[in-house]
Symmetry: C4
Subunit: 203 residues, 4 copies
Amino acid sequence: MSTNRLEAFSDGVIAVAITLLVLNIELPTLKAGESLAGGLLAQWPVYAAYAVSFLTIGIIWINHHVMIGRLREADRTILFLNLLLLMSIAVLPFATRLAAAYLKKSHGQHLATGVYSGAFLLMAVFFSALNQHILLTKAHLLHTEIPLEQRRQILYRSITGVAPYAIATALAVVSSYLTLAICGALAIFYALPIGSGGVEPAG
Amino acid sequence: MSTNRLEAFSDGVIAVAITLLVLNIELPTLKAGESLAGGLLAQWPVYAAYAVSFLTIGIIWINHHVMIGRLREADRTILFLNLLLLMSIAVLPFATRLAAAYLKKSHGQHLATGVYSGAFLLMAVFFSALNQHILLTKAHLLHTEIPLEQRRQILYRSITGVAPYAIATALAVVSSYLTLAICGALAIFYALPIGSGGVEPAG
Amino acid sequence: MSTNRLEAFSDGVIAVAITLLVLNIELPTLKAGESLAGGLLAQWPVYAAYAVSFLTIGIIWINHHVMIGRLREADRTILFLNLLLLMSIAVLPFATRLAAAYLKKSHGQHLATGVYSGAFLLMAVFFSALNQHILLTKAHLLHTEIPLEQRRQILYRSITGVAPYAIATALAVVSSYLTLAICGALAIFYALPIGSGGVEPAG
Amino acid sequence: MSTNRLEAFSDGVIAVAITLLVLNIELPTLKAGESLAGGLLAQWPVYAAYAVSFLTIGIIWINHHVMIGRLREADRTILFLNLLLLMSIAVLPFATRLAAAYLKKSHGQHLATGVYSGAFLLMAVFFSALNQHILLTKAHLLHTEIPLEQRRQILYRSITGVAPYAIATALAVVSSYLTLAICGALAIFYALPIGSGGVEPAG
């Protein structure tokens, strides 16, 4: 299978998932005497989780493009691993809503942000697994031959990107705010040109 | 009509349907004294039905690509049959929600999972009908000539894929869990390289 | 502007609109003592309106493809008229929900199905307006020169397709069931190869 | 990175966002004795905000196409700025719902339409920022060399398009109706061929 339609389908799923995030932002239910301004401000976790998820999905889209761009064609195993990766992206609107709803609550906030960060962790793991499969097992399907040393380097960076999400997930036990902050910092770091080497090199 | 835009539109519908599935996963409504962990675990049928539907739609997307990839151009009848196939895929988010909501209930569980599995059955029937129309009636629209014997073989595999869903649907009378398990097993079987010949050969 | 991205964007909007229709199909709220089977059957107008809208949007997609396929490039006016056409398609999920919710009610059923059929009417009008603009005013943007007589013929068929929806809308005053039945009959007629000449010739 | 997939992903996000707007149009909840006609008419702000947002997103899509169409390839900074632009477009369904829900209310209407118009303002700012980055900083990535004077002219028009939204946002303090009317007038003005030079020249 040529990678054209694989890219088109993946683009479609990622574009829908990133845009569906907005359904998590609901009109605030105002308590008696509460102003709209107060109600809108009170739901700041919804906006924070939205922005973090939007940027993170946007970055994974860029990295996905680079990863698949190296491929000449795809086989069944690649399609299957890609499907798992897409599933981990497609569930993010739910994980985002969960984290936003419980961030400020006294009960469940640690679990909710742990699930949120854990969803990013799962995404990073599936991404690395697919990257490893492409670069090591299916190197003959690449557009141009890449020396093993360089392929290992690309993969190393990809796997390194898993660690911060593992840490963020573990720290959810300590503080849900901290976990959200780390996820946000990672999104900004990887989005900036300086951090682009962290998960996946641009070229 | 060239098949390019037919593929683009079908990819779009399938990508939206597979991503809309996430809207079925709602925040759990916690009973008095129930923890978030308990609430999240209690709705496991929602996750199970989600995963089964996601993988199944992903596989039908792969098979759809292979089927349309053989075509040089499409005529009205192909467009119409493809539209019916897309409709059977687009209703899956509803069928998935129905099965998840009733799986553990004492009333309606058999019907709900029967509808769920029946939706997959319908999809498999429309897929086979379109495949038969392309391979037997419209063979002159194929990219390259395929010997009748080989076309019959492809079609035979396609039609064979209908039977397991018919069985799963019939068994919903016995147990809703069994039906969901069969649908899940089919999704994993077809997703794995070893099972790829079951519905449609990859090449 | 080349028509490639115009087609891609239009395909995207139409694919999302046609797939969003499924959100109209909700789990039935069962009354005391009502079975799931009873609840599912009682909401048959939801399924009927869904199928009619799905097929109708599918057909307009095919016709849209044929119409834009004649164009070599698009100018601002074409983009604007196309945007209006897309808007009339994008509101169909709402019109469909309205018709389904009121079809069986004693109050509001005539208005609801009138709005539903009126939405199709609007879509047909915008389609014809865009077609007329392309075929008569912007004929120099066509891929290949088409004799005026033939262009008028294509346009005539396109405009003829408006009438049945006008009739269906007017008849909503008499019976909401009749209006839905006409819209459904039109969808099936245009979908079948025999009716393909009614709105737009396939070639 | 070639701009092909950047365009495809952006088209996808914009197409989903523009189509998701329809979810803001809900069935009216009828008060005792209220007719469906009355209920439908009473929610006219929902339709007005819908139409304004639909046209505005449609226009930004056209302008986006022209802007990216000048690029030969994209780098990380362009991808990041484009992601911010897409985020400002993707939140519009929420801003639209907010404005529609509060337009007629005695409390919160000024803030709600201010947020609505402010979302358009943000979109215009991100659009201009990306345009400036492409035309001035990354001019070596353009398809064909454009004289500095002409690039400045394009940019000037782009930045000029920001002002009306700043005014509309400021005027929300005075009247929410006025703000909505200005946003609507801008959408129609830019959509018409005569106004196409306002934000971005078509060629």
